[in-house]
Amino acid sequence: MNSNHKITLFLVDDDAVYLKMLENDFIQQPDLDFNIETFSTGELCIESISHNPDVIILDYQLDGIEKNAMNGIETLNKIKNYNPEIPVIMLSAQDKIEVAVNCMHHKAFDYVVKSETAFLRLRKIIPAIFHYKKLEKELRWYMDRM
């Protein structure tokens, strides 16, 4: 991965405490340089989508308390409409197969359950995304040559 490049990371969660914790965890990563933007709602995330994030970590349940708020899947759809290439990792407190499958159907890159190990998983997925993108790009290059 290009080490000079700052990774623009969007964190979206309506739980302010968890959001701060996550932001702090990413800031403390010594090997990856993040440019982090945090949003408490899906609407705010979409407003700033033109900043072209490299990765978005998105909470599944954004409309729990605010009934009119856009939920995680709606936000995910809007992101994918804007640019289907932006990888989105869904985050949820629910460890349920339907939720995971639903996220995958809406083209989330991965699904992580909010637990003690959640950050570690996120931390592992991000390099995996870039690795995957690189492979995809190389494959496209070879296909073009064929």
Partner: protein, 780 residues
């Protein structure tokens, strides 16, 4: 044929015509010829025709050829026209015999080339010059025309190519037929790959399109074969280069991994060295503690003069050994980059007085004169590391005293310069001792170096003192220098910068007046080694203090819960529960502010930092210096507002179990107070509205909202260290909520959650203020 008619025909022909004799002289010309040459018939007749061309030799040669071969076709020449202009022409001619009655001769046609024709010729030359083979084929697939490149690539002459079947020249004739079928079917073909059957089997791509006559009927097709062998070669080279690049990236990555391994190995080595030194120091200090301690105890008892002399010798040797260990450890710390400098307010005058005081008796003993110069422009209180400054001055003074037998030792301080924030102070120690030879001057700051190898025999010392001084000065951003003349004396001077401050200096430990009134302190010693237990009891009882012993941290905690103490002396390495764990428990769980002093044989900075971080007030290195111990105890007990009685009360109040635990937050924020405060503040903002939502939704039987509210509470439980029982309780509430019905116990559980969250909020508020006041203390 009528001669007259012939004449008229010639005369009126639009192209210039001439009839010449076999000698090349003009016999007759037509009107067009006189026009183009701008001369009359009379003037032209009988002149050499070749003379009217820019290249008369070529013209003459053509005329000769004409008579030899009876004809010449479209030979290109340049004619000199009237008014001196030139024109491109084509010359054609026919020789005739005398059957027309005029004798032997030849008729010559001059045909002016128009621009259109030039364009056609130009186009043709372009086609011929193309490196790609070009063919035209008719609807039957026969070749009708081609360019030079086609001839070269097929190696068949132009005449032989014309009229042959186009498809014959390829390795796969059927495919070639498909090409021209495609051209005629679709009107064009693009990039159709074929291989030409030449010596090299050249690979080509075919492009072609049909051409039509004016009425739109397809006449044939033009096909272009592009030789792609070079392209193919480049492509394969590119692929090779790519593979090669990937291979070398792999090699580079291997090298990087190796380098990383090497770095890790090196780092491990440094860590191992640090660990070794730390262990060694611990292993030596522990027995030394007992040796020196009991020697001191013995020295206080009734002794014969001889016994006293021997015991003094033991104590001095022990002291010297401790100094050596300290020196080695200091250097190791500097090497490992672990040397940390404090930034505390202190008074330089007091520091220097204290240092001089230590040497007073020695100086008097050696009958030396001690002078002191102090620059009063230096601000009274400055910020720096007084302990390290002491260490530097102590080392320099001790050298000065050691190497001087008569004369004066001068200690001076001078304000070099100052700006808004900083002052630069020069310290100098000047002696009239043995001095240092010029060739040794450079070496004296190196490890284990003394000016002469005999020095240590004569004067003692480890040879580490100056090395440490240099490191201490330079690591604080200062510089040290020495001026010396053998047998006259040396001057060591160093410059350090200090920050200015308005804050008053802390009570200097060295200047506290010992309060002989302080008696009857209750002190708990947590120490596992019996010898050291005995030594501590002896010392503390000697001070007039009461003393209890706990063999490990766990016992110590039990004893504190039973009985109040004024101070704890805490050994760090103990079985069951070590000093760090015990202190952490006392500070975080029991919330006691009782002073705790670490007893450590292990004085690496790493451990000292840890002592502070778990909440110890101070530390004292083994072997314990009696006076230092007393001073530290008295200072802490006086400084602390909480006496044993108030602590007992404090303990009682704290009995109510705390529901939050900052350990997780401390660990996750790496003890960053700002971050911890931010997190706590966020929790305090977010939680009360959530509690309200939870209660209201239960009341309204809005199960979805109840589910969501509890859902949002869950992640912060673990962050704030709230017991996992409540997290499970919250999940149970969620389960009930998702079944959409009132269940037994749900009210009770929501109440419990509300209570725990409220308690957490109040505890966290307290915690927030604690952190805040602590950081403010640090700032001031």
């Amino acid at each position: 044929m009528n001669t007259n008619f012939s004449n008229i025909l010639i005369e009126t022909h639009p192209d210039p015509l001439a009839i010449i004799t076999p000698e090349g002289n003009i016999q007759e010309v037509n009107h067009a010829m006189t026009n183009i040459l701008g001369l009359t018939t009379e003037k032209l007749t009988g002149t050499l025709f070749a003379g009217y061309f820019t290249d008369p030799f070529k013209a003459r040669e053509l005329i000769r050829q004409l008579f030899r071969q009876e004809t010449v076709k479209s030979s290109s020449l340049i004619i000199r026209q009237a008014r001196g202009t030139m024109a491109d022409v084509l010359l054609s001619g026919y020789a005739f015999n005398e059957d027309n009655g005029k004798g032997k001769g030849a008729i010559i046609f001059i045909h002016a080339i128009t621009s259109q024709k030039l364009a056609l010729m130009y186009a043709r030359s372009l086609i011929e010059a193309s490196l790609d083979p070009l063919f035209t084929i008719n609807t039957e697939g026969k070749i009708t025309d081609m360019n030079e490149a086609s001839i070269n690539i097929t190696d068949v002459s132009r005449d032989k190519l014309i009229g042959t079947d186009f498809s014959e020249y390829f390795t796969e004739p059927q495919k070639a037929k498909d090409v021209y079928k495609d051209v005629f079917d679709y009107g064009f073909v693009t990039d159709y790959p074929l291989t030409i059957r030449d010596g090299k089997l050249t690979e080509v791509l075919f492009n072609g399109s049909v051409y039509k006559d004016d009425s739109g009927i397809v006449m044939g097709a033009v096909v272009v074969a592009r030789d792609i062998s070079a392209q193919k070669r480049i492509e394969s080279e590119l692929t090779e280069a790519k593979i090669f690049a990937e291979l070398s990236t792999g090699i580079a990555e291997d090298a990087k991994t190796k380098a990383e391994h090497a770095t890790i190995t090196a780092e491990n080595a440094v860590r191992a060295k640090q660990q070794f030194l730390s262990n060694m120091s611990h292993e030596i200090r522990t027995p030394m503690n007992a040796i020196i301690g009991f020697t001191k105890v013995l020295l206080k008892s009734d002794l014969s003069p001889k016994q006293k002399e021997y015991l003094t010798a033991i104590k001095m040797s022990g002291d010297a050994l401790i100094v050596l260990i300290n020196d080695i450890l200091d250097l190791a710390k500097v090497d490992a980059g672990k040397m940390v400098f404090e930034q505390t307010p202190f008074k330089i005058t007091l520091s220097i007085s204290a240092m001089l005081h230590i040497f007073e008796s020695k100086i008097l003993e050696k009958n030396l004169k001690l002078e002191r110069e102090y620059d009063n422009n230096i601000p009274e209180v400055l910020i720096g590391d007084p302990l390290r400054l002491h260490q530097i001055i102590l080392n320099l003074l001790s050298n000065a005293v050691k190497f001087t037998t008569k004369g004066t030792i001068l200690v001076s301080t001078r304000l070099l310069r100052e700006d808004k924030d900083e002052v630069f102070v020069e310290f100098a120690v000047k002696d009239t001792g043995i001095g240092i030879a010029p060739n040794k001057l450079e070496k004296i700051f190196e490890n284990f170096q003394q000016a002469t190898s005999g020095t240590s025999r004569l004067f003692g010392g480890t040879g580490l003192g100056l090395a440490i001084v240099k490191q201490l000065v330079e690591h604080q951003g200062g510089s040290i220098s020495v001026v010396s003349k053998q047998n006259e004396g040396s001057t060591f001077s160093f410059v350090l910068s200090f920050l200015k401050t308005n804050v008053a200096a802390e009570n200097e430990t060295d200047t506290v007046i010992l309060d002989s009134e302080i008696k009857d302190l209750r002190i708990l010693v947590a120490e596992d080694i019996a010898l050291n237990q005995l030594l501590m009891i002896t010392m503390l009882e000697d001070f007039g203090f009461m003393c209890d012993i706990a063999a490990n941290g766990k016992i110590a905690i039990e004893m504190i819960q039973r009985k109040p103490y004024d101070l704890i002396l805490m050994d760090l390495q103990m079985p069951e529960m070590n000093g760090f764990e015990a202190t952490e428990y006392i500070r975080n769980r029991m919330k006691l502010h009782i002073p705790i002093v670490a007893l450590t044989a292990d004085v690496t900075t790493v451990d000292l930092a840890k002592c502070k971080s778990v909440g110890m007030n101070d530390y004292i290195a083994k072997p314990v210096d009696e006076k230092l111990l007393y001073r530290k105890i008295v200072n802490l007990v006086q400084g602390s507002d909480t006496t044993a009685e108030t602590q007992a009360l404090e303990l009682k109040n704290k009995q109510k179990a705390r529901c939050t635990d900052m350990n997780y937050l401390i660990q996750r924020t790496k003890s960053n107070p700002k971050l911890m405060m931010e997190m706590i503040l966020l929790y305090l903002e977010q939680t009360p509205p959530l509690i309200n939502t939870m209660k209201k939704s239960l009341y309204d039987k809005d199960w979805n909202l109840l589910y969501s509210a509890v859902h949002k509470m869950i992640p912060s439980f673990s962050i704030m260290g709230i017991s996992v029982d409540f997290e499970n309780m919250a999940r149970k509430v969620q389960d009930f909520a998702s079944t959409q019905q009132q269940a037994d116990g749900i009210n009770d559980m929501v109440n419990k959650l509300e209570n725990i969250c409220n308690q957490a909020c109040s505890e966290l508020k307290e915690e927030f203020n604690n952190i805040k006041s602590k950081t403010n203390e640090l700032k001031s």
